[in-house]
């Protein structure tokens, strides 16, 4: 690919000064905990079989401990006494062009920052955090794959990562509102825009308005059925944040500020992150860190909200409508790193008759292979599809016809795996399943206003 050619040329052009500064940069991004993690790997090898890259390519470079070691070797050579005095004995290596290439390969090319290795690590090394610090360093040195950076740049320049104009967004929202009203047979099924003081601000992945509006329609149907007081924003509506993948905290923070800005502008009480793993992790867990600022409102996943509504009796489903076997994919950033594992299961048990788990599942589930920005980096496409083989076989083993994935990013990868591995499945979001199973409120409500009452 042209991009890897450009990257190679950039690495060739690095001066000794660039390299020295790069390593200092890395140290500044690592933090104290990170420095400890670089020293604590005991090379037990347990991580090897936890990683979907190693399980599919069996290359030593794909073993998480090996990826960690590329990064640790450079750190040790400069910042530890033993590494400076006896590099050969400690495995310390100079941060030269060859090692930079190994960093790019390890951090961008062979890691989806899914964190499964850390869960299986005897000494608790947070590999994704170290890989993110390495990515951050490479990004600042200009060595990030151009297409990954482009997603960040588009979001910074246009307010969403697909460059959708305000007119196109509003036009699409209005259109989906009409489609929803037609589908549920109720003109009260609205998608309010910029409703001041609404209880919930709902945010979406740009992929929905651009190509897959049925997901947005399903979400609108659910909000309508629950009688929720909600809104979308005319600006600051994109929940994605590729700053999580580039490692650039300043840019990640600037993108996060779009959502915080909408919340402040509209005075909403709860920020609801639609079905997107990395978007949830970035908004819920990382953005406060990047911005050094606690949000003054609640941030929750749409999964939690739908589950709450089912428990409160505000949503009712008829599971007999979905009798095909259904399985559930656990997005790394929602489940293992995001802490949301049960709401989606409670929801599915109410909405389908034949729900089977993948093995393993929940926090131990395998990455689809598309995480960590892999879907945006064309040069690693073959590797990504190969690494997705683990997920493909997990799906096949369930015998399911429908794969539910509460993450638009995972869904793109799963659609490709479906084709590549001839799985013959249908892939849906949780909201799409809920919308199909919903028992809607009567089509002629006593008063339109009922649907706008805050709960």
């Amino acid at each position: 690919m042209a991009d890897s050619g450009t990257l190679d040329a950039k690495i060739e052009a690095l001066t000794d000064d660039d390299l020295a500064r790069g390593l200092d940069l890395f140290r500044s991004k690592l933090g104290a905990a990170g420095a400890v993690w670089l020293q604590t790997c005991v090379h037990c090898g347990l991580c090897a079989e936890s990683c979907h890259y190693f399980l599919t390519d069996h290359e030593p470079q794909s073993i998480p401990a090996h990826k960690l070691e590329q990064v640790a070797a450079a750190f040790r050579g400069r910042y530890t006494l033993a590494g400076r005095l006896a590099p050969a004995l400690t495995g310390a290596r100079p941060f030269d062009r060859q090692l930079v290439r190994a960093w790019v390969d390890a951090a961008f090319g062979r890691c989806s920052t899914c964190g499964r290795c850390s869960l299986n690590c005897t000494t608790g090394v947070n590999v994704p955090a170290v890989m993110r610090a390495a990515r951050a360093t490479l990004t600042e040195m200009g060595l990030i794959p151009a297409d990954l950076q482009q997603v960040v740049t588009t979001a910074l320049e246009t307010g969403n990562n697909m460059g959708i104009t305000r007119e196109d967004w509003l036009d699409t929202v209005q259109w989906i509102e009409e489609e929803t009203q037609g589908a549920v047979g109720d003109p009260a099924a609205r998608i309010p825009v910029d409703r001041q003081g609404a209880q919930y601000l709902f945010t979406v992945n740009p992929r929905e308005p651009k190509f897959f509006p049925l997901g947005l329609q399903a979400s609108a149907t659910v909000f309508h059925a629950a009688g929720a007081d909600w809104t979308v924003a005319s600006e600051g509506w994109d929940l994605t944040n590729y700053g999580l993948f580039s490692g650039n905290n300043a840019e990640g923070g600037a993108i996060a500020r779009n959502l915080l800005g909408s919340m402040e502008r509209l005075g909403c009480r709860t920020l609801v992150i639609g079905e997107c793993g990395h978007g949830f992790a970035a908004a819920r867990w990382e953005s406060a860190e990047w911005l050094r600022q606690r949000p003054g409102f609640r941030i929750m996943s749409f999964l939690e909200l739908m589950d709450d509504w089912f428990r409160q009796g505000r949503l009712k489903a008829d599971p007999s409508r979905i009798t095909d076997r259904v399985t559930l994919h656990d997005p790394c950033n929602t489940v293992r790193q995001g802490g949301i594992s049960e709401p989606q299961r409670d929801i599915l048990r109410r909405c389908v008759t034949d729900f089977v788990e993948m093995t393993p599942n929940r926090a131990e589930n395998f990455c689809c292979g598309g995480g960590g920005g892999q879907l945006a980096m064309a040069q690693y496409r073959d590797k990504r599809l190969q690494a997705g083989g683990v997920k493909a076989e997990q799906i096949r083993a369930t015998g399911a016809r429908i794969v539910v994935a509460p993450c638009h990013n995972c869904i793109d990868q799963l659609m490709e795996l479906n084709r590549e591995y001839k799985l013959g499945v249908v892939i849906k979001t949780v909201a799409e399943i809920v919308a199909d199973a919903l028992v809607l409120p009567t089509a002629t409500p006593p008063a339109e206003g009922n649907h706008d009452v805050a709960s």
Binding site: D147, D168, T172, P206, P209, H408
Partner: protein, 105 residues
């Protein structure tokens, strides 16, 4: 790299089934691309979508919003997905010979 037998000789595809070289597209090639995606017969409705996709891409350099696609063809969403079951971003763009949309994240 997979190839398909086009009307004027083999045509190169990328590993997602999109044309490697957008200029290779011709109306005669479209049914062959469609067959790969399990779309057996290209009806006038399929062609309406293909033409809008190609026109919009020529005019703006990007794939249209699906809203625009519905508006210009007069089809509702349901009809679009009936015609191209895997959706406009995948099947339809492939058959219309458009480049793969930037990763949908």
């Amino acid at each position: 790299m997979p190839n398909i037998a086009g009307p004027d000789g083999p045509v190169e595809l990328d590993d997602k089934g999109y044309l490697k070289n957008v200029a290779d597209w011709s109306p005669a090639l479209a049914p062959l691309l469609a067959a790969r995606d399990g779309v057996r017969d290209l009806t006038a409705d399929h062609w309406a979508i293909i033409n809008v996709l190609r026109d919009h891409h020529r005019e703006h350099g990007v794939q249209p919003m699906i809203r625009e696609l519905c508006r210009r063809t007069g089809f509702n969403l349901k009809r679009i997905y009936e015609l191209f079951p895997k959706g406009p971003a995948q099947d339809a763009c492939r058959v219309a010979g458009l480049p793969r949309p930037d990763s949908c994240v």
